[in-house]
């Protein structure tokens, strides 16, 4: 019996599972497909007209795409907060959640890559970046580091769950000696992807708003808050709509991770604000622009003043055990924390880096409808991929999907 045969059967069974489901499931997938198609249409306009259809300009040359990319790297890295306790510390409470977390990481990474490609001026010459065929400016360019770590992390997060599910699919236990080394590697790798992505910005002496030693650590803290917050929400939905059992204890433990990370994130935020506003220098202008506006230009004020109160409120609520252990409050907190960090680390981080420009020029940035369409399309694609992965994984874990070829062979 060859491995390929089992794998073929797995793909066939998985296809059968993901194409069948309740009406609600079909509506969900249909809606995602529609949004993806709209996104593809918007992208086709961008391809034929050029990036001029976006709100970006020579003054603000990165926008919504790179903002979402940065945020999603954090979501992907957050899977480590489940991987480490399960595979390395052998905490059984996380075992149910870890496959979902890894599925989320895969979806987030694919979205990251899609956002980077969407942001490229010449997607047709992207092969210039492939090591060996093109010219890979390693190790000088942090972007090449990012290409390596993101793809490596994607590989790890596909292979480990695939191996485990593949064994379970055949009704066997997964051998820990096979996947634990990979899991340990992925723990370091997760920290790596986020630190490297932070270094992408942190290493630019031209942009004082980013050129700040706290950027990397703060990326990690906010990632370990926003990512597990999303995982909690996803687990809550899954246990509501499927037979997959997720214990309360698991959610509580993940909530603890979110809480600690959110607290650290808040401390770092205070430290940053103190540095920018206690003794403001020429380099604090971007922060001034972000929080108070400069010379009457204040496009980011509504965003950041939504994010900060949500962030503080969520962190405070989560800090009290009683409130955190109430699931209604927990889900609410996770939701607002996710939104807050999406704003803060997306828009609130990328756009002010360019404002004011190198010579003090303030040109604001507003995404266009086409840009928003492409962005929504990519998010829908991420949700679509995650749904497929999760449905297959849950099917196998519940024992609904099993390899049947064996009996025929005997």
């Amino acid at each position: 019996m060859s491995v390929f045969k089992v794998f073929g059967s797995l793909v066939k069974d998985s296809l059968a599972t993901i194409t069948r489901g309740s009406l609600r499931y079909h509506i969900w997938m249909g809606a995602l497909t529609f949004v993806m198609l709209v996104g593809m249409y918007c992208y086709s306009i961008q391809l034929s007209e050029g990036l001029s259809v976006t709100g970006m300009s020579d003054r603000v040359s990165w926008g919504l795409y790179i903002s979402n990319f940065t945020f999603l790297v954090g979501v992907a890295a957050a899977a480590v907060m489940l991987v480490m306790p399960t595979y390395v510390l052998h905490d059984v409470d996380f075992k149910q959640a870890v496959l979902i977390g890894e599925g989320l990481a895969v979806a987030a990474l694919i979205m990251c890559l899609a956002f980077v490609v969407a942001d490229m001026g010449g997607p047709s010459v992207l092969w210039h970046m492939i090591p060996g065929i093109g010219v890979f400016n390693f190790p000088n360019s942090m972007l090449t580091w990012d290409v390596i770590v993101l793809n490596g992390y994607l590989f790890l997060n596909i292979t480990i769950p695939l191996y485990i599910l593949f064994r379970h699919y055949q009704g066997k236990e997964a051998k820990s000696s096979v996947y634990v080394p990979g899991a340990i590697l992925s723990v370091f790798w997760a920290v790596g992807i986020h630190l490297v992505t932070a270094f992408l910005y942190q290493g630019l002496q031209a942009r004082p708003f980013w050129n700040n030693a706290l950027l990397g650590p703060r990326f990690l803290a906010s990632a370990f808050a926003a990512g597990p917050a999303l995982i909690i929400l996803v687990l809550a939905i899954i246990r509501n709509f499927t037979a997959f059992k997720v214990q309360d204890r698991t959610l509580r433990k993940i909530a603890m991770v979110v809480t600690v990370a959110a607290q650290i994130n808040l401390i770092m935020l205070i430290s940053e604000l103190f540095k920018e506003f206690y003794a403001p220098t020429h380099h604090s202008e971007s922060a001034y622009y972000l929080f108070f506006g400069l010379h009457g230009k204040d496009a980011l004020l509504p965003w950041i003043w939504t994010a900060i109160p949500l962030n503080v409120l969520a962190t405070v609520l989560l800090t009290f055990h009683k409130l955190r252990n109430n699931f209604k409050v927990l889900f609410f907190c996770c939701f607002i924390l996710f939104i807050a960090i999406w704003i803060e680390k997306g828009f609130g981080l990328i756009v002010p880096g360019f404002i004011p420009g190198p010579y003090g020029k303030i040109v604001e940035y507003t995404p266009t409808r086409i840009e928003i369409g492409v962005t929504l399309g990519i998010w829908a694609m991420g949700a679509f991929i995650f749904t497929i992965l999760a449905k297959t994984a849950i099917g196998i874990e519940l024992g609904e999907l099993r390899y049947k070829g064996k009996s025929k062979n005997v």
Binding site: G121, H128, Y201, L204, A206, G360
Partner: protein, 381 residues
Amino acid sequence: MSTNKKWYSLNFGRNNEKPSGACGCGKTSGGCGSHGAKGHQEPDVNQMTDQEFAEAAINASIGEETKKDGFDQVFDVKMDRRTAFKKLTASLLIGAGAVSTSCSVISGDDSKEKAQIDWEEQFKGNYKLMSDDEKSATVDRLMRSYELRTGKNLSMSSKNAEEDVLFGYAFNISKCQGYMDCVNACVEENNQDRNSEMQYIRIHEMKDGQGFNFNEADDNYYHEVPAEGHFYMGTQCFHCDNPPCVEVCPVQATWREADGLVVVDYDWCVGCRYCMAACPYDGRRFNWSKPEVPEEEVNHNQHYLGNRMRKKGVMEKCTFCVQRSRTGKNPACVEACPTGARVFGNLLDPKSTIRWVLENKKVFRLKEDLGTEPKFWYFMD
């Protein structure tokens, strides 16, 4: 890239300056299908009988392996990645050629040649790593392509940096009156996109008595100059000796030439705009749409690294008019300046005007604390 940097940077045994003759794949032997003329021997699809075409196609795709049988032809072949890529390109080309030959009734030889040039241009290597032959091959292709499209000729150079030349620039703040003749000359010389009004040079109008206060300056004025109570200061790419934009480029599409010019290979750029974020001097411009220059305004005296036509989605920047400076002329902005505020020359020539300025004037540079070492100095009378 300068070899004596002030700080340490990881190198992992790689040479920054790869031996010339290598292309993007980093190998010197053979072609990767990207070196046109001498890279590989595609059959000339246009002037062949079907018989010859079939033979040539077999020859190009399997070559000397014709003596082997069956799978051996395909699988039992010593092939490095370079060769594999070359063969893949060759067979794809033949496939594409065959399809277009069989399907098209009206397309003439010209359009086929154009398609072939477009194909080779799409898969050529990085200019930085090309040998001189490869450089002139791509320049020939681009000139021929222009001729096929417009029926006009242009001259494009691939002249390399000369030895003992390091270009530098000085700007006399006392002299500049803000006439912007430099900006106009630059746009005309360098074939910049007219639709988006792209300009490499920005002239900042500053108020007297406030010092060099860029925040209060206006770089987009439309009134009579010189305006009362104001002085003028121009910025453009400073051609740093330690350029941050070069370090960050993921594909080495931008680099510092031996004569100090920081240039871009427009055909190698992937359009990620990381260099733009890394530049502290607002020196880089991006083609957000397809750049357009009316045919009668195109400057036909071009250099591959300079003012040749760009395409949508790539970076470009001031090159100190490489097409002029490497032939001993001043950049267009220097020539156009009616006040003599702009000085350009060879920093290694002790008798040059630029050296005289550096030695006799109190010069300064912008944002020196960033360690970028611009080769653009400001001074006052």
